[in-house]
């Protein structure tokens, strides 16, 4: 049933319903549903309609630009691209092991990134569905509604994200699109003053993160029959894993488990990813469909991200997250949880883990070390893999003898989840929408299933330094009601507020 919904036999005879744009996801995508005259779903597809040309236009660029250049793929989790590219560049310059300071600063940056991204997704994007219900009026089912009805939850979400952004600023120089990671290391350490700045808030952050896990657990288990079924698709799971089998975000081997939890591949060196994963192209989406080579395209598609990682790992090395993981695993009764909304639960366990791991790392004096960067013998090929907030992220670059990029391949987390998301919407369409008159709340169920994967398609730009800025606040009619200017010398001025141009 689910597979057959990919392509209808006679689409020309069917009604078309399009959800465009998908809301509360990062970037632009759409869903098309084809229905027969009795409103039975005959086809359901998630289309990603943006085109990414990065692999092409970085050809001919110097390799040392890559961590800064390629992170511009995204404004939500640029640190993931920054670090994956930096790891690939480590390989290009022949560095297999960073200095302790460099590795720990990068890990701290990545934990801050994952924490802020998970907080953004849960509190800003997903919580309106979960707190108010899928059929809540659309004008209320958003972050403003959360702020009005649950100000404490909304505030915690904003401040959790802010803390993660501060970790990024301190390690990368800017909250968005920093420059901290270089080929072979980092360009700064964490000073004692910077460490103290983070330490003063970290206990509160851990408490809030723990509260968030309890909140999602209550929501999930309060309507468990529905939540276990909604968007549940049996998927293989793929992700990095630490040498001892524990949860890992920055570096490790690949582990693949089947839908029943059986391990199919373990501690696989990701330098061999091209042998492990192939990509299929379909003519109705710009996004490729990766699959595990050993299982083929029909059976080899897989899920990445929080749900995959928490299902895949044997433990967390931080105690509170490990306790929560055990509760999560117990809910699956011996099988990996496959429900779409369990992703939120897994995501918040990871949020808690990040907060705990940051607290632990801030005590490590290696962060204040001065050995920042290593160099080795140049190589022609570099592959860097990292667990981005949304899942496993592959960066692969090849350079010529002059150090210019000749080939690049990026498999981003959302691409890895392509088939899983498509299968999830077909499950929701087939089970919850089939044969019914389609309404906004019903269509929102499709979006809820996609939103659980937190697909990320967006990018943003930010400025820094002495750049002049002119900020205008306008009312609904476009009339300026306030204005703030920053001049090149850094002074800030508020010219007459109501002057209309």
């Amino acid at each position: 049933m689910i597979t057959s919904l990919e392509t209808a036999r006679h689409p020309e005879t069917l009604k078309r319903v399009c959800i465009e744009p998908l809301t509360r996801v990062e970037g632009h995508g759409k869903v098309t549903l084809l229905l027969d005259e009795d409103n039975h779903i005959r086809q359901a597809r998630l289309h990603v309609v943006e085109f990414r040309g990065f692999e092409k236009f970085i050809q001919g660029r110097p390799y040392w630009e890559l961590p800064v250049l390629v992170q511009r793929l995204c404004g939500i989790c640029p640190v993931s691209h920054h670090l994956a590219a930096a790891k690939a560049c480590d390989q290009l310059i022949g560095v297999d092991q960073l200095t302790p300071t460099a590795e720990k600063v990068r890990r701290l940056m990545h934990l801050g990134q994952t924490l802020q991204s998970h907080a953004l997704h849960f509190f800003h994007l997903a919580s309106p569905d979960l707190l108010f219900g899928f059929d809540d009026p659309v004008a209320h089912r958003n972050i403003v509604g959360v702020i009005q009805d649950h100000p404490q939850i909304a505030t915690q979400g904003v401040l959790l994200r802010k803390f993660g952004q501060e970790v990024i600023r301190i390690t990368a120089g800017k909250r968005v699109h920093g420059t901290g990671a270089l080929p072979g290391g980092v360009n700064k350490h964490v000073s004692l003053a910077e460490r103290d700045e983070l330490q003063k808030d970290i206990d509160q952050v851990v408490d809030w993160a723990e509260g968030a896990v309890q909140l999602i657990k209550r929501i999930f288990l309060a309507n468990s029959d529905f939540h276990y079924r909604f968007g549940a698709v049996d998927a293989n799971t793929l992700g990095l894993i630490a040498p001892d089998g524990s949860h890992e975000l920055y570096h490790g081997g690949l582990r693949v488990r089947g839908p029943d939890g059986k391990t199919l591949l373990d501690h696989q060196d990701y330098q061999d990813y091209e042998r492990v994963i192939h990509e299929e192209i379909k003519d109705w989406s710009y996004m490729k469909f990766p699959f595990l080579t050993q299982l083929g395209p029909e059976l080899g598609w897989y899920r990445v991200g929080p749900l995959a990682r928490v299902n895949n790992c044997d433990s967390f090395h931080t105690p509170l997250a490990e306790q929560e993981r055990q509760d999560f695993a117990a809910a699956g009764e011996g099988r990996p949880l496959q429900a779409a909304l369990a992703t939120h639960w897994a995501r918040l366990i990871e949020l808690l883990h990040c907060a705990e791991a940051i607290r632990e790392l801030l005590l490590d004096s290696d962060l204040q070390g001065t050995e920042l960067r290593l160099k080795g013998e140049m190589r022609e090929k570099g592959i860097g893999v990292i667990e981005a907030p949304r899942g496993t992220l592959f960066h692969h670059y090849e350079i010529n003898g002059d150090g210019l990029v000749t080939r690049a391949n990026l498999i981003v987390s959302t691409t890895n989840n392509n088939q899983a998301m498509n299968t999830a919407i077909r499950q929701v369409a087939g089970e919850f929408l089939d044969g019914r008159e389609l309404t906004e709340p019903l269509l929102n169920q499709i979006e809820v299933a996609i939103r659980a994967y937190d697909p990320c398609l967006s990018c943003a730009t930010h400025a820094m330094g002495r750049m002049p800025l002119d900020l205008e606040l306008c009312d609904a009619e476009g009339k300026r009601i306030d204005r703030l200017c920053r001049h090149p010398d850094g002074t800030v001025e508020r010219p007459s507020a109501t002057t209309a141009d």
């Binding site: 630009e65 250049l69 210019l404």
Partner: protein, 239 residues
Amino acid sequence: MSHSFTLDGRELPFVPGQTIMAAAQAAGVYIPHLCHNPDYAPHGSCRVCLVGVGRRQVSACTTPVTEGMEVDNNSEAVQDNRRAVLQMLFAEGNHICPVCERSGNCQLQAVAYYTGMLAPHYPPFFPRRPVDASHPDFIIDFGRCILCELCVRASRDHDGKRVFAISGRGLASHLVIDSESGLLGDSCFAVTDRAAHVCPTGAILPKHKGFERPIGERLYDREPISTVGDLRAHEDEVD
């Protein structure tokens, strides 16, 4: 007998033969510029140092001061034209500051900030100019060249080598390298050349070194170019 002229209403001394730029710099007054470097003959090509003299706007780096001259260095009319010139320089090349390793140490970016350039204005040309990375120590990103000829002058007048020249005319003008292949790696260019350390943009760059100075510690992160000038813009290039 001392000589004087007026710059933005302030009376300043000058020595006969001095340009407006030289007299202003001697008095500690900043006039934005890119192709000007006091070590080399004035060039007047970038037009960023436009100042108002009477009813005309002239390049400060090539115009001699005269007794009693009244120079406008700060009016909105002058800044508007400087901004327009900079907007055109940005549109002609591939000046993508967010991903450029010179960002924060770049004179072109810093001068644009100084003049209040908020964003690109003209449709960009997006020229296709491949990077020359054939030299073991330096690369040339031709997409960032603004044809200021500072490298041409430094190589010729200081290094005694003539590695660089400008070829073509008008929009087709471009930087060329004196080697049989046209590649930097086949020329006599060396890391110790003065020409390696005068580029006001990110066109001539050392290899393997980008982004080493953290954000917040780069030259123009802390002070505007009108305060710190441009002499230290290349200090990170030498190990």
